[in-house]
Symmetry: C2
Subunit: 151 residues, 2 copies
DNA sequence: CTCAGTGCAAATATTTTGCACTATG
DNA sequence: CATAGTGCAAAATATTTGCACTGAG
C-alpha cells in the first residue's frame, strides 16, 4: 500500500508462540489462524465472538503473548477497546480510516529523521514513538461521493 | 518546554464550558479547577478520587464536554485507562515519560511537513494525525543514575 | 418555577484471575 | 505422567445510564 510494498509471508503467529517456548495447542492454533485469516484489525472481544470454542481468557492471554513478542500491534483506539493488527513491517506507523476502521501500515524514513531533530528540543531521552494518521480511505471516499449531501 | 515556549493564560476550563452553553455549576467549578491546579495528566478515576464530593458520572460527563470542545486532550495509554491533559497549544503532540508518566506538549513544524509529504503515499485522504513520543524525562534520568544498578 | 444538571446505584464493557480439569510433549 | 495450558465463572476495573432530586437562571 505504501513505502514498503509487499512484505508477505510473515512467519505464522503460531510459530512466533513456539519460539517463545510455548506449546502448540489447538486453542492457540485457532486464535492465531483466525487472526491471520481475518480482517486486518480486530478487538479482543471480536476475536472471542468469532471463536466461541476458545475461552475468553485464552484469547486474551494469546493476544498478550503476541503483543509482547512484537508480532501484534496494539492500537489505542480513543473510544472503546484497543484494536490489534499483525505487525508486518519492523518499525512502522498506522493509518486508521475514521469511517470504516480499516488499518494500514506504513514506514517513512522522514518520520525517523524528524525524531532525531526533535531530540534536542525534548526535555529527556527519547525511548520510542508512535504515530497514527487518521484518514478517510479511498473506498469510503468513493461511497461518500454517492450520497453527495455534503454541506 | 519546547518550540512554543510560554503560552500561559489559557481561558479557564469553566469558561470553555460556558461557551458551550452549559451552566456554571459548583460541580463543574470543582472539576475544572481541580484539573487546572492538578498535575499535568490524569485519569478519570484519579479525578473522581480527588473529588469525592462530585459524582463519578458528573466527572466523566464534564471530561467528555471538555474533550469535545478541544480543551482537553485524551491520551490513549496502552495499558490502563486513558489520560487527559489540558490542551495549551492549538495542534500539538505529546511526550510521555515511561517512568513517571509526566506528559509534555510540543509542536514542531517538521512534523506537519512530513504529513504533507506522506499524503501522496497514503491510500486515502488524511484527516488528522497523532504522535506520541515516549521518553525518560530528565528527573527520572537523574534518579536513575543514583541507583546505578543498570544492566 | 423549570428544566439542565447532579448523585447514586445499577448496568454495561473490558480485562484479569482463581481453580479444577485436560492434553501436550 | 507432569505440568503448561484451558475453560469457566467470578472479580477487578472502567465507563455509561436511568432516575428521582436539586439548584441555576
Amino acid at each position: 500500500m505504501t513505502t514498503e510494498s509487499q512484505v508477505r509471508q510473515e512467519p505464522s503467529l503460531l510459530t512466533t508462540l513456539e519460539d517463545l517456548g510455548l506449546r502448540k495447542t489447538s486453542a492457540r492454533y485457532a486464535v492465531t489462524s483466525r487472526i491471520e485469516n481475518g480482517s486486518d484489525a480486530f478487538t479482543a472481544e471480536e476475536l472471542c465472538r468469532q471463536l466461541p470454542e476458545v475461552g475468553r481468557a485464552t484469547v486474551y492471554r494469546t493476544i498478550r503473548h503476541l503483543v509482547d513478542a512484537g508480532a501484534l500491534c496494539k492500537l489505542p483506539i480513543l473510544d472503546g477497546a484497543p484494536m490489534y493488527s499483525i505487525a508486518r513491517v519492523e518499525h512502522h506507523h498506522h493509518t486508521i480510516c475514521s469511517k470504516c476502521g480499516a488499518v494500514g501500515e506504513f514506514r517513512h524514513s522522514t518520520v525517523e529523521r524528524v525524531m532525531r531533530s526533535l531530540a534536542k528540543e525534548i526535555d529527556g531521552q527519547i525511548t520510542g514513538h508512535k504515530m497514527e494518521i487518521f484518514i478517510t480511505c479511498n473506498s469510503c471516499l468513493a461511497s461518500e461521493s454517492d450520497s453527495s449531501s455534503d454541506a
